[in-house]
């Protein structure tokens, strides 16, 4: 196993996977705390499916995947936000609607053109082989933006997560914040899904937040520990994948699940559940 870990620095694609994974894990965990508390956690799952649909279409027509996937997934995030704010279609139903439709379009286009090949398979289940230098640059930029946003606007993000009506009445432009958060989630999903897989990417958003919320009693504590836990789980999952040759996405999710279960049991034993 130590040799396998040292291999990371010998192969570019392993180093790219490590960097993108770390950046995406931090972003997903920070954004995830807000999304889980606003009961909008499944947006990651829905946008993952949108991402798959757009990548499948881009592959079928020979377009640059990110050039298609990024704008369409960001638009889908705004659309989901608007649908759920409108009140006629609730958030969970809106996500299911967009999610299933995108998956169906993706599968339909793939079947009618290239058929299920390894590239399409890697979009569904994830692969570090698909990551490019462009992904690394984009993920580092995304991480910087998300970290700056959370440091500078932390108090406003807390206020609108805790009580959006009050935040709006206090002059916080909640619509703008929601839109920025939705766009950042969409970019995180698009970058992360190629490594984690469209079917597993939402776990990076949900698991760290849920795990730290088992013990954390302050928003600041939960936010910081969520990011720390996400990094820890990713590193362990990545090492597991390298050591045993298992898929990266699934390995990271399994470690996240194990961490969640341990913290869940600890809270029950301590009587804090």
């Amino acid at each position: 196993m130590p040799e396998a870990i040292l291999d990371i620095f010998s192969y570019d694609f392993l180093a790219r996977g490590l960097l993108v994974g770390l950046m995406v894990s931090v972003c997903a965990a920070l954004l995830g705390v807000t999304l889980v508390l606003k009961r909008f956690a499944m947006i990651g799952d829905g946008l993952g499916h949108v991402g798959f649909g757009t990548l499948a279409v881009a592959t079928a027509f020979g377009w640059t995947p990110l050039a298609v996937s990024l704008p369409v997934t960001i638009l889908a995030a705004f659309f989901l936000l608007r649908l759920s704010e409108g009140g006629r279609i609730k958030g969970d139903a809106a996500i299911a609607l967009v999610s299933a439709s995108s998956l169906a379009i993706g599968i339909f286009v793939v079947s009618a053109t290239t058929g299920m090949n390894t590239e399409v398979d890697s979009y569904l289940f994830g692969s570090i082989l698909t990551l490019t230098r462009e992904d690394v640059v984009l993920s580092v930029c995304l991480c910087v933006v998300v970290l700056v946003l959370f440091v500078v606007f932390y108090n406003r993000i807390f206020a609108m997560t805790f009580d959006e009506s009050f935040a709006r009445a206090s002059g916080v432009p909640t619509g703008l914040y929601n839109s920025v958060l939705a766009a950042l989630v969409a970019v995180t999903i698009v970058i992360g899904m190629r490594m984690m897989g469209a079917l597993l990417i939402s776990s990076l958003i949900i698991f760290p937040a849920l795990a730290t919320m088992q013990l954390g009693r302050r928003y600041l504590t939960v936010t910081i520990w969520s990011a720390v836990l996400a990094v820890f789980s990713f590193l362990l999952g990545y090492a597991l994948a390298l050591a045993f040759g298992t898929p990266t996405g699934a390995s990271v999710v399994i470690i996240n699940l194990a961490v969640f279960l341990i913290l869940y049991l600890v809270t029950r034993v301590l009587g804090r559940g």
Partner: protein, 257 residues
């Protein structure tokens, strides 16, 4: 005497349809107004209008010149119990200071001092470091009241409470009513409270506004008790017994009627 707030022939829409129309009333400084009406009668829409979150379709809302937006405290209707939300009491109350922060991203010592004073004012100073999600319903409402007060504890002039008694047991209700009453009488805060509790409203308020997609009644509690709509409402609500003093407003209203 100049009115603190004048609503002149105003109408508001919700979701593209007219929610409430024909609103016409004025509040003086120190008034305690209870807004009552069925669900969907336009109470919360009116609150949104007073807070400046909704623009009237027609008519106007005029504030006294010296009243600033930051001098209005607000306790929104609680749609969920905040159960499990990871926040300390101080974090929650501090968020009331946001309206004053402008572009400044962090809270100062002064913000923390004002937040702690607001907690003391509602008798929740000892809860500062507690987990908000672990508090009882009554304690949570007191903390949220402190958040509303912390917006400008020295200069707060108008306190708007949207159904603050929802989900509270009788003891917690009585406690919260008493605290709001003290804020009105001792701190000279003008209070607007949206409530379904008509019998207790007439006990504490000095102005009643009854809505049903339009303004059915506006006036003093005594006039309300003698009005036809007031009599009907109080008769329907627990035989007209005030939840605080047990006095039957219905009998008095019936005698006058």
């Amino acid at each position: 005497m100049t009115a603190l707030l004048t609503v002149h022939d105003a109408s508001f829409a919700y979701d593209g349809k007219i929610a409430v129309e024909g609103l016409d009333f004025a509040l003086a400084a120190g008034d305690y107004l209870c807004v009552i009406g069925e669900n969907g009668s336009g109470k919360s829409t009116l609150v949104g209008g007073i807070l400046g979150l909704k623009q009237p379709l027609c008519g106007s809302i005029v504030y006294e010149e010296s009243l600033k937006q930051s001098q209005i405290g607000y306790l929104p209707q609680q749609h969920f119990a905040h159960g499990g939300f990871p926040a300390s009491v101080l974090e929650v109350v501090l968020s009331g200071r946001l309206g004053h922060k402008g572009a400044v991203p962090f809270y100062t010592k002064q913000d923390r001092k004002l937040a702690r004073e607001a907690l003391e004012l509602v008798g929740a100073g000892a809860l500062e470091r507690h987990w908000f999600g672990g508090l009882s319903g009554g304690q949570r409402q007191r903390v949220l009241l402190a958040r509303a007060l912390s917006t400008a504890p020295d200069g707060l002039r108008l306190l708007i409470l949207d159904e603050p008694m929802n989900g509270l047991d009788p003891h917690a209700r009585a406690d919260l009513y008493a605290r709001i009453q003290r804020l009105n009488s001792e701190e000279h805060l003008t209070v607007i409270m949206v409530t379904h509790d008509v019998n207790t409203a007439v006990h504490f308020a000095n102005r009643i506004l009854l809505l049903d997609a339009c303004q059915l009644f506006y006036g003093t509690p005594d006039a309300f008790k003698e009005s036809e709509s007031g009599l009907d409402l109080m008769r329907d609500a627990c035989g007209g017994h005030c939840a605080i003093c047990g006095f039957s407003h219905f009998e008095e209203g019936h005698r006058h009627g």
